[in-house]
């Protein structure tokens, strides 16, 4: 390991989902894809909106807004493509974002107990505290968040 890498702080990509900003570890981010067609078809896996096609890959799109408990925005037309683990394999996955992404460095702090289960920790950026979410946890929490989201909507 080089001296530079020893001193390097973790990098995060800051994205906007709905009306809130979140962070993801930069190491898993592959690309910010332009608005492309979302293809949907019947399935019964919670938390997946459909698929997009990027560079020969068929990439599932996760419903990050529901899992994070935020209202989706019509401005979410771009896709942040990441690599995620599925069992022993890995594949690309995407979330819809509004296109404004930033790169930031910082230390991951533990998440507060009241945060959604897909939140792996928090990132302090100046006065702003951002949830850092984990796409693997987001997938696992998709169904629970969907049901709590719909409960909120009916409240």
């Amino acid at each position: 390991m080089t001296q530079a890498s020893q001193s390097a702080r973790p990098s995060f990509v800051i994205v906007q989902v709905g009306e809130r900003r979140f962070a993801l570890p930069a190491a898993i981010v592959a690309e910010l894809a332009p608005p492309v067609r979302l293809h949907s078809f019947p399935h019964d896996t919670p938390g997946i909106l459909g698929v997009i096609v990027r560079r020969g890959h068929i990439v599932p799109v996760y419903d990050a807004a529901s899992a994070l408990g935020v209202r989706p925005s019509s401005a979410q037309r771009f896709y942040l493509v990441t690599r995620r683990r599925v069992g022993t394999a890995s594949e690309f996955g995407a979330i819809a974002v509004n296109g404004d992404c930033e790169l930031a460095e910082g230390e991951l702090q533990p998440a507060a107990a009241d945060r959604p289960s897909c939140v792996a920790g928090t990132l302090q950026l100046g006065e702003e505290q951002l949830d850092v979410f984990d796409l693997d946890l987001l997938m696992a929490s998709g169904s629970a968040a969907e049901s709590s989201g719909s409960a909120e909507a009916h409240a």
Binding site: V13, I14, F41, V51, I58, C101, A104
Partner: protein, 186 residues
């Protein structure tokens, strides 16, 4: 902070070749159910009939366990379970007008309409993120023009257990009917 746009790292990540689809040109029938397009291998379809033309050979089957099957039809001395594709895929209720009678399976499928035939060059595996019943429903996904269409698995319309349930219901219906057939008119 640095703006991130069109990160080049995807190209690097993409050097891991995408899952290689089965490379064999295949003719498929594109059909519609509740405004959703599906593909099925043309080889898997024996016959396409209108629901009206089969009304005479349809028999209602009295069972509630497999809700997507309400009727059987008889074709060439073989009885087929008629699966409502909309119910199978969890789609809104429609009024099906066509029946796909499948080859080598005792299954016929109610659909809304045939879109057209098409030739596809590959069937892409369903991404691993899809972990539900769709893994049984579909062989994979195909590109048709600028659309991604699920390619239906013919054997996925009815599971073995559902066949057993339906066979039992059919047997029960027959055994109820037999004494009546032999009974002398009053």
């Amino acid at each position: 902070m640095t703006s991130v746009s069109q990160r080049a790292s995807f190209a690097k990540a993409s050097s891991n070749a995408p899952p290689r689809p089965a490379r064999q040109r295949e003719t498929v029938v594109l059909f519609m159910v509740a405004n959703q397009m599906f593909a099925i291998a043309a080889d898997a379809v024996q016959e396409i009939r209108s629901t009206d033309s089969l009304a005479g050979s349809a028999m209602e089957i009295d069972q509630i366990e497999v809700g997507k099957v309400r009727h059987t039809i008889e074709r060439a001395r073989r009885r087929y379970f008629v699966v409502n594709a909309g119910m199978h895929f969890g789609l809104p209720v429609t009024r099906p007008t066509l029946v796909l009678i499948l080859r080598n399976l005792r299954v016929a499928v109610l659909i809304d309409r045939i879109e057209r035939m098409a030739e596809i060059s590959s069937v892409y595996p369903l991404p691993l993120a899809f972990a539900g019943d769709e893994r049984r429903w579909y062989r994979g996904l195909a590109k048709v023009d600028d659309l991604i269409v699920p390619v239906v698995q013919p054997g996925g319309f009815l599971a073995d257990e559902e066949f057993r349930t339906l066979d039992l219901a059919l047997e029960a219906a027959k055994s109820l009917a037999e004494p009546l057939e032999g009974a002398a008119p009053a």
